[in-house]
């Protein structure tokens, strides 16, 4: 087996391993007594790790088919497992998104995390590399390796730095996701044996499978990805995890981790089991609509801000799965765009909540009111992100939702109509929360003592705001790079893999 590295330096490997190595260094040399040094080192690590993702964006070819920036080398020859990396339009944007969010997370923890700083920062850096590994793996076992390994740092982050009920949330998070991925492991082994001992995901795409096999494989993958997305009815771990996780943990969960599931559908479920995908699409569509409407209603009645945004994430991810399973180009593209946009917007919303929490140590909506009087800059940002969350045109939230609704109407008018109610529900819960927290008279004397954003907070929210608006006004760079890959995917999915009779 010859090794292939199509670019030098190997950007993808750097994007995966730089944050992991920096994470290890931070863990090794960071001390609470030298907290400042630890923070600076982590920031340097996060920024350096972001650098190799820039050439990915700049020299990605929008017209090429198949994976780009490929790196392939034998890894475990005994089982024909390869270290096989590559990205296409489906995975391209998640790599810089992950690296970028990691920088934001490091900044967001600057003055907030005072104890065990190295463990906090190191965990996030390593987590970042592992998540990028999931997005760029083209070898089934390598994918699983990264997919599972992400659980370890996240478990530690929630459990060590979380809220009062953190142990319960950490266990629930770990065991829920572990359950899903174990069944996927069996599907992966099955595919390995079926394909004559290959872990090449792209080869699995070409593997003929009969209907029963496809349905079982689809369901096995669904277990892992549905839990991760999360889809109704296996979503219950997410509100717990979000509420208990520290701000950075919530940001990474919402902005990146949920996308691992959505991405899994595109990389595994749809192309490997296309007939089963068509056959089971009604099920996924119904579950997605339940997520959009029912979870949207659930979000509305939440008293805890973080819980509200957590439920809104589930509703938004319902849009994503809906877009994937209506099998038209605009729907799938909309789903991916929605995932990227949600990365910015939900991350920003959790940061906003974090800003308030750091000052008041409460996430109850009822404890606030009239924040705008004391924190005008903060109010401006939170209104912007709430608008983006409910899909206001000219924000990134609009693009994805609009595309999915367009695709859904094409697919079936009533599906489109039901999906569109999400815009109303989204507006209802997001704006109502902002109204109760930000506007009105000053609620109590604690609010009266609030101070507005400091430079660090302004910077991170500002960057996210620019990206949200940029993506809303000019989504072409994102959609252009998706087009070829999505068209190829849909073309592939439209061809039956059933054996000829």
């Amino acid at each position: 087996m010859q090794s292939t590295i199509s670019t030098f330096p190997p950007y993808l490997s750097l994007a995966v391993w730089l944050p992991i190595i920096f994470g290890m260094i931070v863990l090794a040399v960071g001390r609470d007594s030298k907290a400042g040094f630890t923070r600076v080192l982590s920031l340097v690590g996060a920024v350096v790790s972001f650098l190799p993702t820039i050439p990915l964006m700049s020299s990605f070819s929008n017209t090429a088919h198949g994976p780009q920036f490929v790196e392939k080398a034998a890894w475990i020859e005994r089982f024909n497992i390869h270290y096989y990396l590559g990205i296409d339009g489906l995975s391209l944007w998640f790599v810089p998104l992950t690296a970028f969010i990691t920088i934001i997370v490091v900044i967001s923890a600057w003055q907030v995390i005072e104890e065990r700083v190295a463990q906090y920062m190191g965990s996030f850096l390593m987590l970042s590399g592992l998540m990028i590994g999931v997005f760029v793996s083209l070898d089934g076992l390598l994918f699983y390796f990264f997919f599972e390994a992400t659980l370890i740092p996240m478990y530690i982050i929630i459990g060590v730095f979380g809220g009062p009920n953190r142990v319960y949330a950490a266990f629930k998070f770990f065991l829920y996701t572990f359950f899903g991925s174990l069944l996927t492991l069996i599907a992966i082994i099955y595919l390995y044996n079926k394909s004559g001992g290959s872990f090449d995901i792209l080869a699995w795409h070409q593997l003929p499978l009969d209907m029963k096999e496809q349905v079982l494989i689809f369901l096995a993958f669904l277990m892992a990805f549905a839990v991760k997305v999360p889809m109704f009815p296996v979503h219950t771990w997410l509100p717990d995890a979000h509420v208990e996780a520290p701000t950075g943990g919530s940001v990474v969960l919402a902005a990146i981790m949920l996308k691992l599931g959505g991405y899994g559908f595109l990389r595994f479920s749809l192309p490997i089991a296309p007939d089963a995908s068509h056959y089971l699409a009604p099920l996924i569509i119904v579950l997605s609509l339940i997520a959009v409407i029912y979870i949207g209603l659930v979000a509305m009645v939440q008293k805890d801000m973080k819980k509200l945004v957590a439920y809104s994430s589930i509703a938004h991810m319902g849009f994503v799965t809906l877009g994937f399973f209506i099998f038209n180009e605009i729907g799938v593209q909309g789903g991916i765009v929605q995932m990227i946009s949600h990365g910015f917007v939900s991350g920003a919303m959790f940061l906003c909540i974090g800003v308030l929490y750091d000052r008041m140590h409460s996430r109850e909506i009822a404890d606030y009111g009239g924040v705008v009087n004391r924190m005008p800059k903060f109010a401006a940002f939170s209104v912007l992100f709430a608008m983006a969350n409910c899909g206001l045109p000219a924000t990134s939230g609009f693009v994805g939702e609009f595309m999915v609704i367009l695709g859904a109407v094409k697919f079936n008018f009533w599906t489109g109509l039901l999906a569109a109610t999400a815009l109303i529900l989204g507006a209802a819960y997001s704006l109502w929360m902002v109204k109760r927290v930000v506007f009105g008279k000053i609620g109590n004397k604690h609010v009266a003592e609030l101070t507005d954003l400091n430079g660090r907070e302004f910077f991170m929210l500002g960057v996210l705001a620019i990206l949200t608006i940029y993506m809303g006004l000019y989504p072409a760079p994102f959609t252009d790079s998706l087009q070829v890959s999505v068209a190829d995917l849909l073309q592939h999915v439209s061809v039956s893999k059933l054996p000829m009779h």
Binding site: L27, W75, I76, E77, R78, F79, R116, Q119, L141, Y144, F145, F146, E148, A149, L151, I152, Y155, I156, G159, V160, R166, V167, A170, F171, F174, L175, F178, F179, L182, L183, L185, I186, I189, Y190, Y192, N193
Partner: protein
């Protein structure tokens, strides 16, 4: 392959070369026993160093054999030196050596080397290892049985080494009675196989059973007893009752001696008797192993949840882990085809090695936190370890995730290899059952991680560890990750060894 056996051959003409490691070990162990007599109390470091040097010597001899990669039979076909034996022996030396390093301070603190006690701990440990080496290399029922007894008797004595300690004595009693019962089972089974085939020689038994020349009914009866005896020694459900009590009751150093390396020898015993000797009977013994495997997974994982004592929890976890070894053992032959045999048994071998390395680390940490007059054997004793000593907290975490089978640790590759061989034979339900029980297992491993990282420090006393132990423990932890990320060498070595063993 088999040299013709000439009954009038003289001892001088026997090829002793394949036994070089065993002979060296006997001589060295006796010498150490003598030298130790002249050492003053508190100056037993020499015994310790000599024991370790003995292991290094054995390793050097076995390594030469291993790198030659040949299969040699000697001593009237009773003894075999093949790559499987040599590979397992190398890991046995490693396991015993690491155990000795971990237990130096522990045994010293507990008076296991003073008073009317000399360096017996070391000598007995070396003799258990000798027993294991004979089990690994036995190619005849009798040497295998003798090796088993040699190992067991030394272990009985070791468990009881703290005579003034009530729990240890009780554990020794239990271990001795149940162990003798198991040996009896085993011997009875062997006698039946002898009755059916007229031979104790593994190679001959294999030939006769393959030709259908042996009485099937008697053979199956014998098999039942042999499998039951093995299950006793392995600690598979429903023959597991002694495991938790002995693991908990024995001094931790001894727990490690009987919990780690002997599993490799037991694995070799299964391969020699069941696979090499009785492969044509695979349909029969695979069914037995299936029941043992599923029960072990179920009982081990479910009962471990209820434990608050770490040693006891690890005992149940051992039972569950061995369920996985047995799963791979029963995936070798399906539909009359042994095509999957080498991959499946090599998966079991890799799993056993993984299990041994992880167990060494976990019990090593239990010993590290212990100090004179205090055993750190409750899970609660690990509270806040992350604050007391971040590095060892990381190691313990890695070991726990390895036991739970989470990548990138070694435990994941081992579980993967076993599941792969189970799925390859079409036993999907079995694979699903196995992973669901691993999910349950993940809970109690996670609980230990939780105790280490999320809980506040209760016992803030400083951890004093000798340098050798710190170094070895760190290497042990690193090895568990390294062999998980780069498992190819060991996986291939296991497969090659198993292919050669099956082919000869």
């Amino acid at each position: 392959m088999n040299p013709m056996i000439n009954n009038t051959v003289s001892v001088a003409s026997i090829n002793m070369a394949p036994l070089a490691a065993e002979i060296f070990l006997v001589v060295a162990a006796c010498a150490i026993l003598l030298i130790d007599m002249f050492l003053k109390e508190g100056k037993r470091n020499l015994t310790y160093i000599l024991s370790l040097l003995t292991l290094v010597g054995c390793a050097a001899i076995t390594w030469t054999d291993f790198s030659a990669g040949t299969t040699t039979y000697t001593f009237f076909n009773m003894f075999v030196s093949d790559p499987m034996a040599n590979l397992l022996k190398l890991f046995t030396y490693l396991a015993v050596g690491i155990t000795l390093v971990y237990s130096r301070q522990y045994t010293g603190d507990r008076g296991m080397m003073s008073g009317n006690m000399g360096g017996e701990f070391y000598v007995l440990a070396l003799f258990t290892m000798l027993g294991q080496m004979i089990m690994i290399s036995g190619n005849n029922m009798l040497p295998i049985y003798l090796g088993l007894e040699m190992m067991s008797l030394s272990l009985y004595a070791l468990v009881a080494i703290r005579r003034d300690h009530a729990t240890s004595t009780e554990a020794a009693m239990k271990y001795f009675i149940l162990g003798s019962l198991a040996s009896g089972f085993m011997l009875y089974g062997i006698s039946m196989v002898y009755g059916a085939t007229g031979s104790l020689d593994i190679t001959t038994i294999a030939k006769l059973t393959a030709a259908g020349a042996a009485n099937h009914t008697i053979l199956v009866f014998g098999l039942v007893f042999i499998v039951a005896g093995m299950a006793f020694k392995l600690g598979a459900v429903p023959f597991h009752m002694w495991v938790p009590d002995v693991y908990q009751g024995a001094p931790t150093a001894v727990t490690l001696l009987l919990g780690a390396a002997p599993k490799l020898a037991s694995f070799a015993m299964m391969i020699r008797i069941l696979v090499e000797g009785l492969l044509p009977m695979a349909v029969d013994w695979q069914q037995m192993l299936l029941v043992l495997a599923v029960l072990s997974l179920a009982v081990g994982n479910l009962t471990a949840i209820a434990q608050s004592n770490l040693k006891r929890m690890l005992a149940y976890s051992t039972i569950a882990q061995l369920g996985f070894v047995l799963l791979a053992m029963m995936a070798g032959v399906s539909n009359g085809s042994a095509a999957n045999a080498a991959p499946a048994y090599s998966a079991a071998m890799y799993y056993s090695i993984t299990y041994v390395l992880t167990t060494l680390g976990t019990f090593g940490l239990v010993m590290m936190l212990a100090r004179s007059g205090f055993e750190a054997e409750e899970i609660a004793d690990f509270k806040g370890l992350a604050k007391r000593s971040p590095w060892y907290a990381v190691i313990m975490t890695l070991l726990m995730f390895s036991l739970a089978g989470v990548p990138p640790m070694m435990g994941f590759m081992a579980k993967w290899a076993v599941l792969q061989s189970v799925v390859a034979t079409g036993n999907y339900w079995l694979a699903i059952v196995a992973v669901m029980f691993s999910l349950i297992g993940a809970f109690y491993y996670l609980r230990v991680v939780k105790t280490i990282w999320f809980d506040d420090v209760v016992d803030a006393s400083p951890i004093s560890t000798p340098l050798d132990m710190r170094v070895v423990l760190s290497l042990n932890g690193v090895l568990v990750v390294l062999l998980g990320v780069m498992p190819n060498g060991l996986l291939s070595a296991c497969l090659n060894a198993m292919t050669q063993t099956l082919g000869s």
